[in-house]
Amino acid sequence: YIIGLEARGLSPNARRYMESGKVEVCEWSNYAMALRIKAAAMGVSFLPGRNLMGTDTFKNSAAKVARCPFTGKLFVLYPALWPDVAAIHVHEADVYGNCRIKGISVADLELARAAKRLIITTERIVPNEVIRQDPTSTVIPYFLVDAVCEVPFGSYPGNMPYEYFSDEEHLRQWLTAEKDPDEFRKFLDKYIYGVEDFNQYLELCGGIERIMQLRAQEHLILNNRR
């Protein structure tokens, strides 16, 4: 679970929960988590890494230390992690779930292979022939996929490379609302519980007009619309 939002600060709501003692916490690192998912993706129950060693992060993780039987060097062993469900938003997918991603993939390719159930949302559905015309571009094959949903702008308010930038104003509003539980409840009622579907949410946030602004931002085009 991620409570840090980098340059945007911490999620106040998540932080409150973490400090409340209501949730049990386990420490890992980004690569530790990626390795755990990669282990599952490779079909093995553990993988070695040379991180976490010597730290309290290690002590409060579920990882173990072992020696390499060939070199005698110490390694941290990470247990494989098989997520029950993963949702990945991609640029293009065919109706079967063959997917293409443009730009960095973080740990999505490993995640797609590790998850027990995989939901793909896609900016656009493309014909199977398009996929088959350039198989080098496929990064997730259909047999890993349980559902494909065409959700244009589905990464909003997040950034979708080459499509639209993140909506920092909306995210700021969200994080501000989180500071006060009542405000946060109101925010959620309006934007999440109060809407029928994703398109309604998008409409509330400025709809296609807003997306066009974010698209211009993504492409580093200056504009004076706001």
């Binding site: 690192s29 980004n30 991180n51 730290t55 960095i104 950034n159 993140s166």
Partner: protein, 255 residues
């Protein structure tokens, strides 16, 4: 000499350590600004790497996230987290930048909790990629304010390994020999680490500050380098590039 603020001073001081051709793993904020500044001044071939997969971008603006589009704008490769972290694990990245709520005399960093871990007074994000960077990169760089609540005798929680409890401890724990904290850059001074004891030591003090100022804002005893000097001030050119090209909106330097 031009006027400049604390953040500008720290970024310029940090940028100078990044020699041309080196590879540096950065996050968002001041470290990224330092890397951009170095690249636009003395290190045109600096390789900037982001943990989510962006490799050697030509950064058009400061990224907001280590995974946003800026981090691979005109990059040589848009890869993924495993590829980047494994490139670091193979020892191919020279520098990384880290921060934290606490740092101790061995450069251990805490970005997890203040207080007891199981009942924290304050909860921070935890490692994120910090432990990985601090385990894999050859040299750890830290930019942080000089403050005795931050510079503590013993961090409440070692999120990311510095020299742990002293000479040989990293190696004993299994970390690669020759790696560890390198420079800690604050609003008052640049600190390095004594090669023998691996303890933090003052290497240069910024104009307007003294060793005493630095020590008074540190919660443990600092060593002082025999070659103590005054930190060179930012040059006009550095400040111009930083203000006009790196951070024109003053997201970082306006803090």
């Amino acid at each position: 000499m031009a006027d400049y603020n604390t953040m500008e001073m720290m970024i310029c001081a940090a940028a100078r350590y990044l020699e041309d051709g080196a590879a540096v793993a950065v996050g968002t904020g001041a470290p990224c600004a330092a890397a951009m500044l170095a690249q636009k001044t003395h290190s045109p071939n600096l390789v900037i790497i982001f943990e989510a997969g962006g490799v050697a971008p030509i950064l058009p603006t400061m990224p907001i996230s280590v995974g946003d589009s800026r981090t691979f704008h005109k990059a040589i490769m848009a890869s993924g987290m495993c590829d980047v972290m494994e490139t670091m694990q193979r020892g191919m990245v020279d520098y990384c930048f880290l921060g934290g709520a606490q740092i101790d005399m061995y450069g251990n960093l805490n970005s997890t909790v203040i207080g007891d871990w199981s009942k924290p007074k304050v909860r921070f994000p935890g490692s994120g990629g910090a432990n990985d960077f601090g385990s894999f990169a050859w040299r750890i760089m830290v930019i942080t304010p000089q403050d005795s609540r931050r510079f503590v005798e013993r961090v409440d929680f070692i999120t990311t390994p510095g020299y742990l409890d002293g000479p040989g401890a990293r190696e004993k724990a299994g970390l690669a020999p020759g790696t560890g904290p390198y420079k800690v850059i604050t609003n008052m001074a640049v600190m390095g680490f004594d090669p023998e004891t691996k303890r933090m030591r003052i290497e240069s003090v910024h104009k307007g500050f003294t060793v005493k100022d630095v020590q008074e804002n540190t919660g443990f005893e600092l060593l002082v380098s025999p070659e103590l000097e005054e930190t060179p001030e930012p040059t006009e050119e550095e400040l111009r590039v930083l203000r006009e090209e790196v951070d024109p909106h003053r997201y970082i330097i306006g803090r």
